[in-house]
């Protein structure tokens, strides 16, 4: 097989990491692709060990237990710096200092364990052993959700949290990990085309002989089904967030989900079921998707306009309506098959 034929051949690998399915597609010869996929897998496993709050000795948990200045890894330093920036960009809606609120809402073990627990225990027997009072105290204590709860010492990789703060970086790490390793595989291993997808956070580059990458969007009501329409891209990123997939039943019969609104420190009360964002960077798309979900339709449009955001954003609401805010001139080309009920152009 010639080198050109080998490169144009696309190989797909799948594995499990960060409590989600990871898919890797690479245009390369078999040995090269296998080697690259093994490295990608190792990368995700390493980041899971570093950033998970469900791994007892993860760097994140060590940081959360620490009360003074703590030296951190280059990866933690970079993610915290990114998170710092996104807090500003989202006007505080993206807030990593919500770990206690997540636990209080019942998300105190990995989602896989949470699902198993729900199966083992009937909803009425579930016990939430986290003191709600901690969260109430945080709110009463003039908690300013719009500012970071930590400081980093420039140039020294040292970090200091506000007293009582526990960080959860689950809202950013998956997209960041996807974006970082995709860039590295492209730049360092010189693989001309590929796609990395971790639980819906996607970074794609190059298409060799194929015209476009095509991305289907899951129906929020039925995971096995896709929405009508798909996303077309040559290179760039796609990310989706939503409240349906990771939700669970509380003891009182109500439902909770994992998207915490830092303004109330409770699962967001929102009309948005699922939001998909198309852009250049997976971490940025992920943050925007989450922010739109938390804000709800009306506030989300205002927020995107205030920041002159250039991403294509598509979301579905509880009443079955579809909203699109982005470049309406390229909607048919980039989002073929989608026919949003409400359209908002870029400002």
């Amino acid at each position: 097989m010639s080198r050109t034929e080998q490169v144009s051949r696309l190989l797909k690998f799948r594995f499990r990491a960060m409590s989600t399915d990871v898919e890797v597609q690479l245009a390369a010869g078999r040995e090269e692709a296998e080697h690259a996929a093994a490295l990608v897998k190792n990368w995700f496993e390493a980041q899971e060990q570093r950033f998970s709050r469900f791994v007892a000795d993860s760097e994140l948990n060590r940081l959360n237990r620490c009360t003074g200045w703590m030296p951190i890894s280059a990866a933690m330093d970079e993610v915290l710096s990114l998170a710092y920036g996104y807090i500003g960009q989202t006007e505080g809606i993206f807030q990593p200092g919500i770990s206690q609120a997540l636990r209080a809402s019942g998300y105190d073990v990995s989602f896989e364990q949470l699902q198993q627990r729900e199966l083992l225990q009937s909803g009425t027997e579930r016990r939430l052993d986290i003191q709600q009072s901690n969260i109430t105290d945080m709110l009463r204590d003039q908690y300013d959700y719009s500012r970071p709860r930590w400081i980093q010492r420039e140039g020294s990789r040292m970090v200091h949290k506000d007293p009582g703060t526990e960080l959860d970086l689950g809202g950013i790490v998956k997209g960041w990990a996807v974006e970082r390793i995709a860039d590295w595989v492209q730049r360092t291993l010189h693989i001309p085309a590929g796609l990395i997808n971790a639980g819906g956070d996607i970074q794609a580059w190059g298409t060799t002989l194929h015209p476009m990458w095509s991305v289907q969007v899951t129906d929020p009501y039925q995971e096995e089904r896709n929405l009508i329409g798909n996303i077309q891209l040559r290179k760039g990123a796609v990310a989706t967030s939503g409240i349906v997939r990771r939700q669970w039943q509380n003891t009182d019969g109500s439902h909770s989900h994992h998207l915490i609104d830092p303004r109330t420190m409770e699962p967001a009360d929102t009309d948005v079921l699922q939001c998909t964002v198309l852009g250049q960077h997976a971490s940025q798309c992920e943050i925007i998707a989450k922010t739109v979900c938390i804000l709800g339709s009306a506030d989300a449009v205002g927020w995107l306009n205030r920041h002159y955001d250039r991403h294509d954003v598509l979301w579905m609401t509880r009443d079955g309506s579809t909203y699109f805010r982005g470049n309406t001139d390229t909607l048919a080309e980039r989002w073929p098959g989608f026919d949003p009920d409400h359209r908002f152009s870029l400002v």
Binding site: R9, L10, L11, K12, F13, R14, F15, R16, A17, D21, E23, Q25, L26, A27, R30, A33, E34, A38, L39, K41, N42, W43, A46, V55, S73, A74, A75, E78, R180, W184, T188, L195, N197, A198, G199, G200, D201, I202, A204, T207, H210, M212, W213, V215, Q216, V217, P220, E223, N226, I231, V238, A239, T240, S241, G242, V244, R245, R246, Q274, T276
Partner: protein, 131 residues
Amino acid sequence: MTRKKRNQWRKWQASAAATLTVAALFQYVRTSDAFDVAYAAANGTDISSTASSQIDAQDDVMDEWTNNTDSHSDASSNEGDSLDEGTTDESNAIGPNQGRSSGGWITDQISNQDTDSGYSRGNYQSRTGAS
């Protein structure tokens, strides 16, 4: 007369060589990253783009990972568990509906071409959804 001409020629040669050396030296300095940073700083301009090109060359995050991977790979090979084979631990356990695990890889039951290696043919298609 001949000697005078020869001396002039030597002087010219020496002068030309010196000029070329200085020009080459200046070109080397001018194209260095340090010159870019110093020039930008002297003119009070933003040096972030210049600095980023230097950061690009040195990627602490990926260096940190590859260094750890190298040491981990060495250690695991001593235990007979190489990186290429992948590992499956309890935290990466795969549910029965998610396919068959092969060395930590999930393989599609139908479309897989080489289940031992854990890959199948890609198709330039993927899927996004809340996870």
